[in-house]
Symmetry: C2
Subunit: 321 residues, 2 copies
């Protein structure tokens, strides 16, 4: 019996695969290595219960051949669908990016699960499905869902397709609405950008927006733990959970100051104007993790602690790579 | 200045085009004539301010060439995007139908609006975006949105893509969440099916489900009037409105009895079992039209009146075709 992960060479995929292998599961993962990277899997590739193939999931026929081969060798009982575009501005500039890499990968995954009779899926959804609701606290049942980026729109579209598939061929689905997730191997995001900028110009750090944007951050180790916890405990056929920290989050200013302190002490921070850093960015939101708390899970790290840990990790990663 | 309608040869499109022409607007419409039909446009094609072309909107290049030509002759200022799969069971059997005909037509429409700088869209969304919430009253802000059909999922995906486009290149968007709409030219739905069945076997009518499914119905003439009313009055940049009758709806049993009375008096009605007629059907829901009422609009016909009027119209249509 195999657990299958799409986007396994990405940030979350590599961490998830390591945790599943540590639990003794057999894991096979696909990745097109467009945003994921083979070196993220360096340690895992030596594991006897881990399999990896380079497959572009937006190519249904290639995906079908590869998935069938895996399933024939050792039946896939559960799919973790993490493959997606993770670069929100890229999808604003060209909607085809999120269509192809986020939505069509979901659509094709569902087509193949139907063909092969695989009945359980976990999907990496996002707080971006909600859109901009100001300070309103957003629970899993909140509406309306008016995403302000194609990233959010294609995550929402994927949720809808999975929800519909539950009515026809799936038995269980988990929709994990991610907050901002940080840690390593980082490939984008504020911490990663700030560290890179300070490596280039150690005396100053330019920040988009006025630095007052406030968000919750979860460390990827907490995220993976939460997902496995929900999968073990939740009884709903369609289990939709916000995953996040139990706090008010931290501001971009806080992150900038922490990165400066860790990487280039004394550098001047130059803030921009306005609340939004870029089109598609939700400037501030609060989201309820009460459902997850009621299930019995709490993160180990607060937003501030997660930021500090991730900065320390990304700073080292940057030196190494 | 041109108003552009996708899916113009369909049930709603043909009625909308007639109303817009009656208001003096210049109207150009595209349709792939897959579910729409040229004879639905017979009267309109003689109108000097109406233009029609057979274009498959899921073919982006063909769509681009045709849309550019229209826009170059006479700038398009507003798009009514009605083209979609309207056959819910067809999309349950093959998810590609709703992907191609509902979602990709929306996606391509947004791509071309961005290329050509057309900034206003009205979209024929659906109550199917909500999914099955039992007797809970659903307003435009209700969540979660877990559609139970690919039809609903691809309408939801389209709403999300439009919402995201408002953040980057659109100025105004109208999301009209349709109830069950009836009238002529009918191509599917309970009334159409019952009339057809009774023409074939005038002594008996077989009904899927136990007949207790209860839904609101709106006559297409009321629907078109409501959309134009909202477009004239609503001030929101993203104007999302449930459109429907102000009543509790009618049951399938009521429709069956009315069709029998009109078409084949005395025929025996044989009900099936269970609440749902087919996969993807939401057995019963109530949806709030308070927002539309607050704007000042009420339908002329109740659900029951709309059903009776549509039966009379469909019965005649069936004889003629």
């Amino acid at each position: 019996m195999t657990t299958f992960i799409t986007g396994v060479a990405g940030f979350v995929g590599a961490n998830l695969a390591a945790s599943l292998l540590a639990r003794g599961e057999r894991v096979v993962g696909f990745d097109n290595l467009c945003r994921g990277a083979r070196h993220n899997l360096a340690a895992l590739l030596k594991h006897p219960k881990f399999g990896f193939e380079v497959v572009d999931l937006s190519d249904l026929n290639a995906y079908r051949i590869a998935f069938r081969a895996v399933h024939t060798r050792d039946p896939v009982v559960h799919v973790w669908h993490l493959a997606a575009n993770s670069d929100i501005p890229a999808g604003v500039a060209d909607p085809n990016v999120d269509l192809r890499d986020t939505f069509m990968t979901t659509f094709n995954t569902l087509i193949l699960m139907r063909e092969l009779g695989v009945k359980s899926i976990a999907f990496a959804s996002s707080s971006a499905v909600y859109g901009d609701h100001g300070d309103r606290v957003l629970s899993e049942d909140s509406g309306p869902l008016f995403p302000i980026s194609n990233y959010g729109a294609m995550k929402l579209a994927s949720e809808g397709a999975i929800s519909a598939a539950l009515e026809s061929h799936l038995e269980h689905a988990f929709l994990f609405r991610f907050p901002n997730v940080i840690g390593v191997p980082a490939t984008h995001g504020a911490i990663y950008d700030f560290v890179r900028k300070l490596r280039a110009t150690p005396d100053r750090l330019e920040v988009l927006g006025d630095g007052t944007q406030q968000k919750c951050y979860l460390h990827v180790e907490d995220l993976v733990e939460a997902m496995l916890f929900i999968q073990d405990r939740a009884s709903e056929r369609l289990a939709c959970y916000n995953i996040g920290a139990h706090d008010e989050g931290v501001t971009v200013r806080f992150i900038a100051e922490q990165v400066v302190a860790a990487v280039a002490p004394g550098a001047r921070i130059a803030f921009g104007r306005g609340k939004r850093g870029w089109v598609g960015d939700v400037p501030r939101f609060a989201y309820s993790v009460d459902r997850l708390a009621a299930l019995g899970w709490r993160p180990r790290l607060s937003s501030a602690e997660a930021v500090r840990k991730a900065i320390a990790q990304v700073a080292v990663q940057e030196v190494v790579l």
